[in-house]
């Protein structure tokens, strides 16, 4: 409990004094996770919707595999990306290891299956409701995919938020491919890990509280935006 009050003090002090290191870390964390989620959404939303609407051999196996990929361990993804981007690896020439770009790549790979799998379920439920009418109107399966993605947008936002939650909270992948380099690839989660290993438990906990608050603020903002949109357009 003593640690907890110290943690709250540490967190407050960092925020109130606009600690520059903290600001840098927060900004980098947001930049990486939001970019990764953006890319994951660009990839995952259409794939999930297509999987829901189209019928082809092997579809059900693909659905099961996609659902399983939601449980990809971050550290495993990090390891795979590390091996790919290492100079000794196939993509080594790109020189991306230990950079924010590598972290974005790893988090995108981690998050895309989550977005895709949740999208598939949401769109599949919608398709059950809409299929006959859309076919009657002459909408092709391809067109239907986009129609359903737009119509399901409020539910899909939750799917994307789930992805963001995963990206912003993981440490295994970004630690391996980013290297936790000060001022370059140090994000909230790796900073927390570092402070913990230095024995600065109160500070680590304080950073954790800040990370949670950040997540709350983002989720709150998204909720309010969605609420306003719903009230405007149902």
């Amino acid at each position: 409990m003593d640690n907890l009050s110290q943690a709250l003090n540490a967190a407050t002090r960092l925020i109130v004094t606009f600690d520059r290191d903290l600001a840098e870390i927060v900004f980098l964390s947001l930049r990486i996770s939001l970019t990764a989620v953006g890319l994951a959404a660009l990839i995952g939303l259409p794939i999930g919707a297509a999987l829901a609407v189209l019928r082809f051999p092997g579809r059900r196996t693909l659905v099961v595999v996609l659902n399983a990929l939601m449980g990809l361990p971050p550290v495993v993804v990090g390891l795979i990306v590390l091996l790919l981007l290492s100079r000794a690896g196939p993509l080594g020439v790109l020189g991306l290891l230990f950079s924010p770009a590598a972290m974005i790549i790893a988090q995108t790979l981690l998050t895309a299956p989550i977005v895709a799998a949740l999208t598939r379920q949401i769109v599949e439920d919608l398709w059950t409701e809409y299929e006959e009418q859309l076919r009657s109107l002459g909408a092709s399966p391809g067109r239907s995919i986009w129609t359903l993605l737009w119509d399901g947008r409020f539910s899909l936002v939750t799917a994307v938020l789930a992805g963001f939650g995963r990206a912003a909270s993981e440490v295994g992948a970004v630690m391996l491919v980013g290297g936790n380099i000060d001022h370059v690839t140090r994000v909230m989660t790796t900073a927390i890990a570092l402070e913990t290993s230095k024995g600065n438990l109160a500070l680590a906990l304080g950073l954790g509280i800040i990370l949670l608050s950040l997540s709350l603020v983002i989720n709150g903002a998204v909720y309010l935006a969605g609420d306003a949109a719903k009230r405007a357009h149902g």
Binding site: Y130, E132, Q133, G138, A139, W150, D151, G152, H233
Partner: protein, 240 residues
Amino acid sequence: MKQSILPLSVENLVYHADRSNLVDDLNFKLETGPRTILLGPNGAGKSLTLRMCHGLLQPTSGAVSWRGRNASNDLLREQAMVFQRPVLLRRSVIGNITYALALRGINRTHRTRRAVEALDRTGLGAMAQRAARRLSAGEQQRLALARAWALTPQILFLDEPTANLDPAATRQVEDIISAMHLAGTKIVMTTHDIAQARRLADEVLFLHHGQLLERSTAEHFFNEPRSEEARAFLKGELLW
């Protein structure tokens, strides 16, 4: 002047599921003109028949043809369907109609104009910008009809369109159906509501257990039903 896609021919139509023929060897031809009601108790196979005619369901065997031609995308463009539960997109009232028109490749200006016309004809003109899903059940069904009307279909299939509506909304919907009929659209509708059939039908196809038991003009069917089942049904005794 577009070529008519009617008559619609149904030959030896069978739909097999759950170990029985839910639609059992139907044969009929529907011509332009009369409002056709498929009447019968629940489980008669009316909805399945309608869906097979419209192309939403593949028959187990048998054929559906339009003036001798098989179903195709071009033929689909001349048809429209309204379901028991209106399926509306999560957008504005007018947006639902312009969406359907966009699918037909109609350009933006014409889309808006035709959508507004359709809304006015169905009494929804004032609600164009409202969220479609916020409408009452009756208003939503009228919107579904407006959407269908905007597409100027040659034939309109309706599957128990007022089953979930109160009497006032039912009348409004029936009025629109009649208006569309007067404007030249062939109406093919299913219902188990005898009173509604009396109000709307020009001809009746009576189905029971997947079979076409009787077909006649409305006057003949309601006054002198030939089959025993039809008589029982009209007396309210044939429940399934």
